[in-house]
């Protein structure tokens, strides 16, 4: 990059006058785009199209086994929207998603600041630790967390008892929805913090020392520097990781499913992903599941729209 920029621009006189180009549509770029667009259409467009079509039909197990599906218009949507269970799941999912996203980004920023402040050796240790957590396969990680929180043989209960909290002997963490979601939040935040921490750390290294030094000379304390200089400078990165976290945490499925398999009040702990899975795969109500999926898609767009817009604005600037 720097070498290109440093190279002196060739003198305009040395360049031969450009030949007049033939105006009109040039096909080559479009032809080159075709394969990629075709792959995208086949990979993303077709399933989406099928999803929309299914959500407008009566499609259950009988249709899967060959009965022609009948077109029912918006019946499936009417059916799921009048179902109280859906709204309970929606509220739960949004709250869970926002709490997790903000917790993750908050913890990630703190860790990034820590990495900036500590000795390089400590920083490398921290980074390796974060990468290991990030690289851990999800099923394995959830299994280990499940063991940690096991009611009978878990380390968490044992530690609490050793610390004198005797009521935690045999305490079932997954039994109540609130403590279930506490465990789920711990797992999800633990798994997503490394990405945020490393991204924000990368952004922090781009904040120029001159600016910070100037602020210090002007008498700004560390917290003022953080709030008024560092964070505004890394804001683009913060917004994109927050956006990604919100989208990811709204789609969370496997962690909850794995925890539920360990014994939990299932209908009180379902999130949107689990609700779709139960409707479609469990009850073979494929049409209803398709309708909920389309709804979740709309919800994701709605939740992330303000961020996407501000990102676009920043890009345009």
């Amino acid at each position: 990059m720097t070498s290109t920029a440093a190279r002196p621009a060739p003198a305009p006189a040395a360049r031969p006058a450009p030949r007049p180009r033939r105006r009109g549509p040039r096909l080559t770029p479009y032809a080159l785009l075709v394969p990629a667009v075709a792959v995208l259409a086949a990979g993303l467009g077709y399933p989406l199209f099928w999803q929309v079509v299914t959500s407008l039909q009566e499609f259950g197990l009988a249709q899967q086994f060959g009965q022609p599906p009948t077109f029912v218009g918006l019946d499936n949507y009417a059916r799921i929207f009048t179902d109280d269970r859906l709204w309970a799941v929606v509220v739960r999912s949004i709250v869970f998603c926002l709490v997790n996203a903000f917790l993750t980004v908050g913890t990630g920023v703190l860790l990034a600041l820590l990495m900036k402040a500590v000795h390089p050796v400590v920083r490398v240790v921290l980074q390796v630790g974060l990468l290991l957590a990030w690289a851990m396969p999800m099923v394995a990680a959830v299994t280990v967390w499940k063991w940690l929180f096991d009611w009978r043989t878990g380390v968490v209960n044992w530690l609490l008892v050793q610390l004198g909290f005797d009521s935690y002997a045999g305490h079932a963490w997954l039994a109540q929805p609130l403590s279930f979601f506490f465990v789920a939040t711990v797992i999800i935040v633990w798994m997503s913090v490394p990405f945020v921490a490393l991204s924000v750390y990368a952004a922090l290294t781009q904040v120029s020392d001159e600016v910070l030094e100037a602020a210090r000379i002007d008498g700004a304390g560390p917290s003022r520097i953080l709030w008024h200089i560092t964070l505004p400078l890394v804001r683009p990165v913060l917004s994109i990781v927050l956006l990604l976290q919100i989208i990811w945490d709204l789609r969370v499925f496997a962690q909850i499913k794995l925890l539920q398999d360990g014994g939990a009040p299932v209908s009180e702990t379902n999130l949107l992903g689990n609700f779709i899975y139960e409707t479609g795969i469990g009850r073979q109500d494929f049409a209803g599941a398709a309708a909920v999926s389309i709804f979740v898609l709309a919800l994701t767009v709605l939740l992330s729209w303000p961020y996407v817009r501000s990102l676009l604005k920043e890009d345009a600037r």
């Binding site: 394969p35 990629a36 086994f65 014994g263 299932v266 469990g282 009850r283």
Partner: protein, 436 residues
């Protein structure tokens, strides 16, 4: 440069995709009724069928059907319904013969996913086949799925603890409740059972003559509010609350661990558990097997470990929920004749005998003797004879998939009012049973 590379990747990916799809045609044009040589696929679930039996099936099938081959693919119990839902309707990808959990059968028999086996019924064993399993594999009077093997569940107990407390195996359900309640301490369940564990819990319903659901005129109705069912649920509630230290949210726990001595000879976590027969091999004192691995000795110490069948409300045996599988042929199989030949091997005396010798209850009751004559075999045969299945309703798989019974039993275990809960869940379950 970047754009060119992207485009190249796109072209390559598109080519790969078309290359994949062109291979699918052509194979669909096979002989319809002629048993011409072909490869057929059998789906077996989990590791339940031992390797020895699988080998017997492939070699015998290939001997009896020259030129044809049998491929056995093992499926995971947890997602077999999902896999069957997508694979069975598709002639190009369907397995030819499938094993299916007995209570999962109605989901597929009621929509014509399986081939009608009625013409073969007599030849494959007829009335000797386990009646409850035959019944669950029937739809509109036709046989679509036949019994493959059965298991059973009974009580495993610590004889030493029971006799130290001066107690003998009970003869009625009430005696059982009293005994396990007396055996409970803070560190030890008298009877270890999780609150969500309805597959064990429904034995109390069945023992009191209750039903989970009944059918009339093709309509299913959840009958939890039936006085007999409520009676059973209340008894179970009392047993759970009085005798179990396991949380109300637990289900399918590895209860057999509870019966073994803890580390360094610590007291076991339970005096009694209820489990399928094969749990025996996870119970006992530690010993070393031929490969030098540490294993349980299979309850070799008969002074310390024992089993008994759950007694009925007025003596006799309580009907327990029977585990086990059915076997069926896919309706879209392109090789129905070969598939039927495979069923003939499965229901042959030799294979039925082998099932029994490996501890699996043979689908044909003539061969149950093969299970042996020890305490385990006789208890298994007795409890299986008295066993019951869950309702053969088309929506049963949906009820299981939504964990409705898990929630109901958890609520009961937590001390909820059984009559109120029963009414509430009846309302929820009845529409699900009928498929909506």
């Amino acid at each position: 440069m970047k754009i060119v590379r992207m485009a190249a990747v796109g072209v390559a990916a598109a080519l790969v995709l078309t290359a994949c799809s062109s291979g699918d045609d052509g194979s669909a044009t096979g002989g319809e009724e002629t048993a011409e040589a072909a490869e057929i696929t059998l789906w077996l679930n989990g590791a339940d069928t031992p390797d020895e039996l699988r080998e017997y099936l492939t070699t015998t099938f290939e001997e009896e059907n020259p030129g044809s081959t049998l491929v056995i693919e093992e499926q995971d119990w947890a997602d077999v319904v999902t896999k069957l839902t997508t694979a069975l309707p598709d002639a190009a990808n369907t397995p030819d013969v499938v094993e299916i959990g007995n209570t999962q059968s109605p989901t597929f028999t009621t929509i014509g996913a399986f081939r009608d086996l009625t013409p073969l019924y007599e030849e494959l064993g007829g009335d000797d086949l386990l009646p409850s399993f035959v019944e669950v594999g029937k739809a509109e009077g036709k046989n679509f799925a036949l019994p493959y093997y059965f298991g059973s569940r009974y009580m495993f107990y610590r004889k030493d603890l029971w006799s130290a407390a001066g107690m003998e195996p009970p003869t009625t359900l009430a005696e059982f409740a009293d005994a396990v309640t007396a055996l409970r301490t803070d560190g030890q369940s008298g009877f270890a059972i999780g609150g969500q564990d309805w597959r064990n819990g429904i034995s109390w319903v069945f023992a009191n003559g209750g039903e989970l659901a009944t059918e009339s005129g093709g309509e299913w109705t959840s009958t939890l509010s039936d006085p007999k069912t409520i009676e059973g649920l209340e008894q179970w509630q009392a047993v759970y609350q009085g005798a179990s230290n396991v949380p109300a949210t637990e289900r399918d726990v590895a209860y057999w661990d509870f019966l073994n001595d803890g580390a360094d000879g610590a007291a076991p976590a339970a005096a009694t558990i209820m489990a399928p027969g094969w749990a025996r091999w996870s119970i006992g004192d530690l010993t070393t097997n031929d490969e030098g691995e540490e294993v349980r000795d299979g309850m070799a110490d008969t002074e310390k470990f024992g089993i008994f069948a759950l007694p009925g409300a007025d003596g006799g045996l309580a009907p327990v929920f029977a585990g086990g599988s059915n076997i069926a042929i896919s309706a879209t199989s392109e090789h129905p004749e070969l598939s039927e030949n495979l069923l003939r091997i499965i229901f042959s005396p030799e294979y039925q005998q082998m099932l029994g010798e490996n501890g699996l209850g043979p689908g044909n009751s003539q061969y149950v003797d093969a299970l042996g004559e020890d305490e385990f075999a006789t208890t298994m045969i007795e409890t299986a004879a008295a066993s019951k299945l869950t309702p053969a309703a088309p929506g049963w798989a949906a009820v299981e998939a939504a964990f409705v019974y898990e929630e109901l039993f958890q609520a009961i275990a937590e001390g909820g009012d059984v009559t109120e809960l029963a009414a509430q869940y009846d309302e929820r379950i009845t529409p699900m049973l009928n498929g909506r």
